[in-house]
Subunit: 569 residues, 2 copies
């Protein structure tokens, strides 16, 4: 048995050297600085105590290091998965706090199990059902949902609605209850983070910083916001400002959700969706980073890595984790050579959990809300809808539908609506392929669409080309359209189907071809096939109909046309 | 406005003549003889009073005559739709007889409305989702379900289970309660009908009958069984034999189900399924019969015709109707020229309702059960599973799954399972297309799979052909596989994608191609496209990426290869 098949680390651990160690350590410092505020903030976004974000930032990194295949991936809590987890756990727990936590951890366990199962079955292709417009629409709409939800924390009011518009209405109705101290802290943090993101690098460069120092200083902007806002709350003794409060400094114990089987079943669909959305993002980041170093990742290995990370998260009482885009890019840019950087990051978070958390008691929710808002608004691809509208209306509608349903009915419904629409639209497209009556381009052996080119047609013989494989979605269409063509050209004695664009013929299409042959026969018209691809001909040979049609299959279209004409004369 | 667009009869009514009248009248006599026992039997199968079968055999024929497009179609109650109607109404009514009847009529109304809506939207293609293996498996399993269910009536015991196996168990447990008089009548009828079906035509021919006389005599076999069994019950005064009882001789009044909106919603899914299954059968028969006379049918017109027939059925208190296969073939063979034959048949059934029904009081259920069993066993295509196993495992599994789920969980669940599996299997196939690394066949301009042919490969340039359109199900697969090929051939400097089998590129695939271009670029490899089809190139031109890739799209593959080589040197 090949160990490398299961353990991604077998690819790099044996060659691990001092040079890599140095690079990985430096990357770990940068990522740890970035991760501390993020992990606290995303835990709150997921509806969980802040420390759960820290728990989800240790064990998963170790598990991914053992099983993952991407060198610079940084797994941990991310915004979209946190929102999805909060929505699913909230719907399940109906206000019961203990049950909410159990459900959040169960989602990580189950999502991890699903990913590992898909990895073992090498069935990662199911994630492909999440098309680009659906994922794009989903992430954008989720970002809006998250940003609006955090606006309440930023202003010091509690505004939680079931949908985007409900939250907006609640927020407006509470406009008089705004806490101005909280708002001052939150808006200051927001402005600071936004300015740091926009001008930070430029300012730091003009101060003479470069390389690693620049990177660390730039990534420390949220930490600065946190330190200042903690100081502000402490100095002002601002009791109206909601803060993180006491965070336990002990490490998480082993945990397993004590839920009934029926509860696990209830949580299965959201667990699968969270896992697949996370997987899609992880693979996408993984490919991009690997290509920059001429490496590659194995999507099935990523399933194992991300699955193990989620289960590790659950075992230590954490929630769903994903390979985050921006965090992984930072890890890569800071020089991470192997997932050992993640192991060191986990160590950094461990130290923070043990020694830093007592200092965070006075950290205002508003500051964390500001970091979330800035992060998620960066996830929105404002350019995408225009691009889709121009490129393909069908893809645009898939995008628009996903956005609308996410905002009107929630994240789960939105992603399901988008996927179902995409599949039905694909089937609708396949069900009515492009079809052309073709004729010979004079002086050549080429046959082209009679509507687009000046071509020579033969009396009594119609040539038809279908630009699609023949499947059940278009099998009956083919019957309709070929019989219509035959009935519409009274003198027709033979019909030649040019099969050069047909990659498959399934059993439904076979049945339809047989019926077409039979029905055309009843009309005194012979059916011929030309340019049938090798694999398709091999499969046709397995059918009973092959005996009947075999002598009417020609190699080139011209050959077949001549064959048909000879039979007529 | 073009009247012909809505009224199928506009195609033939203006030319109606004496010759057609004579043919249609004769066909109507034959079909009426066949239809009387069938309509009674199928009504019982649908769980309804026998006269409802008669109601469903009048108005629908008139409505179809006005709107339908097939000349020899005979619409009315059929076995499979009756079973589906019984299952849906039974689940809905939970034992309430009045509610059961309301639901049965509501299914006809709603099914009719759905068909008309699809016809107006010209969206008949949704019926294509019912693939050949799914329909075949569904019909076969339903036939088994029906036959087993009727076995109880044949033996004079009540044996109704939720599933095939439950019914079988109940039947076995009641083996001691068999009524021997009923069984004697039922088995005699079964043997008679089976023998008549198998040898009837031969015997009648040897008696010198031919043409129309032969046809009428042959079709009268069930009538003979009915007459003899009525006489037997009457003479023997067999009180243990369950009979049809008093059938009202008055005509049906106008009817509309008095159900709440929520109840209509509950019945929507089964109504849609019954309507679609019926539509698929109707179109299939229609095409076959039309082709024999070099006519054609319009599937969208069939939607209107069948929809109107179902609504007409409901308006007069009937239940779901379909264009039956065997009945339409009989109609055609007996010489029906136009749907006027159906109008005359409706007249025949009207006369039967008024004057014949008093004679049917002593008609045993067992005799009707025998006619149903013989009819449905004829629906099973015993050859299909072997054919599918040989031709395509995927289609075989779709068939097997449908059969199993119908038998284990019922007709509705079976058809849904089959359709969902077919769609997922299609997507799975699309998600991993055939891909070949191609090289030049020496001395030609052709490029072929390096694994199948001796070809010339160029150092530093890899040529890849994908035999499928690029859609979201295979977009990420394409990223994985192209990056793997590039990483696996270290000296690669250019990759040429031959696009001659690509009929579409959707937005997800566009995004993937952009990423591939970017990621290959990061590896120092240039991406080229060759033989891009006209419509695909037109669409690519709408994307931002086109500016970047435009200069790397070549006309023929050879041109493109030379272009890539020049850029390298």
């Amino acid at each position: 048995m090949n160990l490398q098949k299961w353990f991604g680390c077998a690819h790099w651990l044996p060659q691990y050297n001092r040079e890599w160690l140095a690079s990985d350590l430096v990357a770990a410092v940068v990522v740890t600085i970035m991760l501390i505020p993020q992990s606290l903030a995303y835990a709150l976004l997921a509806g969980l105590p802040a420390e759960v974000g820290l728990y989800a930032s240790m064990a998963p990194l170790l598990a991914y290091a053992v099983f993952g295949s991407s060198r610079a991936m940084a797994v941990g809590p991310v915004a979209v998965a946190s929102l999805m987890s909060a929505a699913a756990a909230g719907q399940f727990a109906q206000g019961d706090v203990a049950l909410f936590y159990q459900a959040s951890v169960a989602l990580a366990f189950m999502g991890g199990a699903v990913l590992i199962l898909l990895g073992l079955l090498r069935a990662g292709f199911v994630a492909n059902l999440l098309s680009h417009p659906v994922v794009g629409g989903f992430v954008s709409a989720s970002a809006l949902l998250i940003a609006l939800g955090q606006l309440g924390s930023l202003l010091g009011v509690s505004a939680k609605g079931e949908t985007f518009f409900e939250t907006a209405v609640v927020l407006v109705s509470k406009i008089t209850q705004i806490d101005w101290t909280t708002t001052a802290i939150g808006l200051s943090a927001l402005l600071w983070l936004w300015a740091a993101r926009k001008w930070g690098k430029g300012v730091l460069k003009s101060l003479g910083l470069k390389g690693l120092g620049l990177e660390i200083a730039f990534r420390a902007a949220p930490v600065v916001a946190i330190v200042i806002s903690i100081l502000a709350v402490t100095v002002l003794q601002a009791s109206t400002v909601r803060t993180v409060g006491n965070i336990p400094t002990n490490l998480p114990g082993l945990f397993f959700p004590s839920l009934e089987l029926a509860s696990w079943v209830d949580l299965l669909v959201p667990a699968v969706l969270i896992a697949l959305v996370g997987f899609v993002e992880t693979v996408s980041v993984g490919h991009a980073l690997a290509a920059k170093r001429k490496q590659r990742i194995d999507p099935n290995q990523e399933l194992l890595g991300l699955g193990a990370a989620n289960i590790a998260s659950g075992v230590f009482g954490g929630y769903s984790v994903t390979g985050g885009f921006s965090r992984s890019v930072v890890n890569f840019d800071a020089g991470a050579q192997t997932p050992m950087a993640g192991v060191f990051t986990a160590g950094g978070i461990l130290l923070a959990t043990l020694f830093l958390t007592p200092l965070l008691t006075n950290l205002p929710h508003a500051t964390l809300a500001a970091t979330i808002i800035v992060a998620v608004l960066g996830l929105i691809d404002w350019h995408l809808p225009k691009m889709l509208w121009r490129y393909s209306r069908r893809d645009f509608f898939a995008y628009g539908l996903t956005v609308l349903v996410v905002l009107l009915a929630g994240v789960e419904a939105g992603i399901i609506a988008g996927v179902v629409f995409s599949i039905l639209a694909l089937l609708a497209g396949v069900s009515r392929p492009h079809l052309a009556i073709v004729g010979q381009v004079p002086g050549t052996e080429h046959f082209r669409n009679e509507k687009r080119h000046k071509v020579r047609l033969v009396d009594g013989v119609v040539s038809v080309r279908v630009d699609e494989s023949l499947y059940f979605p278009n099998a009956r269409w083919l019957e309709d359209v070929l019989l219509e063509i035959a009935a519409g050209k009274p003198g027709t004695r033979a019909l030649v189907l040019q099969c050069n664009a047909i990659n498959h013929i399934d059993a439904s299409a076979l049945e339809s071809l047989e019926k077409i042959d039979e029905n055309l026969g009843a009309m005194g018209i012979s059916l011929y096939l030309s340019e049938v691809k090798g694999p398709v001909q091999d499969q046709l040979a397995l059918s009973d109909w092959y005996k009947a049609i075999q002598s009417r299959i020609g190699l080139t279209h011209l050959d077949t046309l001549e064959m048909a004409q000879q039979a007529l004369s």
